[in-house]
């Protein structure tokens, strides 16, 4: 009887373990099934590199190049802002800060991660958007830059906590050896700690970027959603995620527009999958 109980529990846990993979596979298959339909009416090349997104016209124009570029521009902007600050913060927490400050900072960063994105978007809309408009003398503050700044806040907690972990797990002997050889604290950090933790820090950056590219609510509220190929970071953009969120409610089930939105889902899935795999490779290299 005891053995039987063991057996049941073991199998139940196995099912739990497999469930997550099973669901990912199901989601991907569903995306493929719905998304690939769109290529009956439009070639993949025209879909990915078409310059006009007018989904409800007759016939619809379904080119997602402006959307891909919009997503990339916002993501690159957010990365440029959040990586130096995030890594710097991680170094400070892991290497320099006294215990008390360290605990306060860590709690603060966890709190930043807990703010819902719609709240960040709303705060951005009433504070950041007018600021960007006035500082750069733009016709409107709803720009890629506003989105980048707000998303940088969202990527920072991920970057800081994983990079700090990576720095923490560098063997103590490295640091002690460097200091014993007469290196200053900064030399130790720059020449020994950072290179030793580099793969972990890269993984942190990749996961942070993954969070940014999948973010929807905040970008939809503050980037203006104009489906035009952006010529500067101070122009409005429309991202892949915001397009799905804004249009799924209207799309007639079974119409080309509906399938196109799922195809955008595939593009997003592929991008974030690639980012996660890269992050994973870096993490395993460290071990």
């Amino acid at each position: 009887m005891r053995k039987f109980k063991e057996f049941i529990i073991e199998k139940l846990i196995l099912i739990c373990g497999l469930a997550s993979i099973f669901f990912v596979v199901l989601i991907f298959l569903f995306l493929l099934k719905e998304g690939l339909e769109v290529f009956k009416g439009i070639t993949p090349f025209k879909f990915l590199f078409g310059k006009s997104w007018y989904p409800i016209s007759e016939p619809p124009q379904l080119g997602i190049l402006p959307l891909i570029l919009g997503s990339l521009l916002v993501t690159v902007g957010a990365a440029i802002i959040s990586i130096p600050i995030g890594v710097g913060c991680a170094i400070y927490i892991a290497e320099i800060a006294p215990l008390k400050i360290k605990e306060t900072l860590k709690a603060g960063i966890e709190l930043l991660a807990a703010i819902p994105s719609v709240v960040l978007g709303f705060i951005g809309m009433v504070t950041l958007v007018p600021l960007v408009k006035n500082v750069f003398h733009l016709p409107t503050g709803l720009t890629a830059l506003s989105g980048s700044i707000m998303l940088a806040f969202m990527a920072m907690p991920t970057i800081v906590s994983i990079a700090e972990d990576a720095l923490y797990s560098v063997p103590k002997t490295y640091k002690e050896g460097a200091l014993a050889l007469g290196a200053t604290q900064w030399q130790t950090i720059w020449r020994v700690m950072l290179p030793a933790a580099s793969s972990g820090i890269l993984a942190a950056v990749m996961l942070g970027i993954g969070r940014v590219i999948g973010e929807t609510m905040a970008v939809m509220m503050i980037t203006g959603n104009a489906a035009v190929i952006p010529n500067s970071i101070l122009a409005p953009v429309r991202t892949l995620t915001a397009t799905i969120a804004a249009e799924m409610g209207e799309a007639v089930v079974g119409a080309e527009h509906y399938f196109a939105l799922f195809a955008i889902g595939i593009v997003l899935f592929v991008i974030s999958f690639a980012i996660n795999v890269t992050a994973d490779l870096f993490l395993h290299k460290r071990q």
Partner: protein, 284 residues
């Protein structure tokens, strides 16, 4: 142990089915964001007079409402545009027979910031601005500033109406589109806020959203006609050129509670609420 679990599961199942049974005296109304405030006002008054009946009103856009009606998740769809051929086809496939009821009229106001010297435009000028042929206010007699075009998202009946009747001038073969650089905002309120804070912006929405922070532009059909303000009288007498009907859609001819609610919206009382919420009544 397992028995207990089973009991709990059964209890949950029964209690949910009990909730489902309760739905008999409630109706779901869903759709056009333009009509949400109106629907809400109707529902409140109606529930006050008919204790025990429940009317739940949610927005989401005309398309959202119609697709809910088609998939059977709401009883009445509110729509600020006519149902499309494609949607009728889909509905027929699912055994739903959309029935159209005109309940009110709505004037679409074109608004600019009160600091903008422009106060009147023709329909042709509007089309030029929103399609992006005119990009600077000075080209139509304003300041030397870039025009910031504000539009609703594509799930909005207002977006569709404005495109078909202003940009395309009711021509079904026209290929005119909103300029790609038009900002797509997710609600009428978002447009109102942006216009209030941005001297070079121009946007459009239902008359009900006009406040002191925006300036409604007087509109003329062409250069020879009078420029008219978006007001209730001008919509009723047909002088204001951009007005549209608002509809409720039901599955087949309404019966029971749905009929009771639809009759209420068309009654004197219901149409008074239409007037109070800044729309234009159809029954006088």
């Amino acid at each position: 142990m397992f028995n207990k679990l089973l009991l709990v599961l059964l209890a949950v199942m029964f209690s949910t089915s009990a909730f489902a049974a309760k739905d008999n005296n409630s109706i779901q109304v869903k759709g056009s964001d333009t009509m949400v405030n109106l629907g809400q006002a109707w529902a409140e008054k109606y529930m006050e007079e008919n204790k025990g009946n429940f009317v739940a009103v949610t927005g989401g856009g005309s398309g959202t409402g119609l697709s809910s009606l088609i998939s059977g998740t709401c009883d009445i769809a509110m729509s600020s545009r006519n149902i499309k051929e494609k949607e009728i086809g889909l509905a027929k496939q699912k055994g739903i027979n959309p029935n159209e009821i005109k309940v009110a009229l709505d004037g679409l106001a074109v608004v600019v910031n009160p600091g903008n010297p422009i106060s009147k435009l023709t329909l042709a000028q509007l089309a030029d601005i929103f399609t992006g042929r005119v990009t600077n206010w000075k080209e139509i007699g304003g300041k030397d500033e870039k025009i910031v075009i504000l539009s609703r998202e594509v799930n909005s009946g207002t977006h569709v109406y404005f495109k078909e009747h202003v940009l395309r001038k009711n021509d079904p073969n026209s290929k005119e589109e909103f300029a790609p650089r038009a900002l797509m905002l997710s609600s009428s309120q978002a447009i109102a806020d942006e216009v209030a804070g941005n001297p070079s912006a121009i946007g459009y929405y239902g008359m009900g959203y006009i406040s002191k922070k925006q300036k409604p532009v007087f509109i003329a059909r062409d250069e020879k006609s009078e420029y008219e303000a978006p007001s209730i009288e001008n919509v009723i007498n047909g002088k204001y050129p951009i007005s549209r009907p608002l509809f409720l859609y039901t599955n087949g001819v309404p019966v029971g509670l749905v009929k009771k609610f639809v009759d209420f919206t068309l009654s004197k009382e219901g149409q008074d609420i239409v007037l109070v919420t800044d729309f234009v009544p159809v029954n006088k």
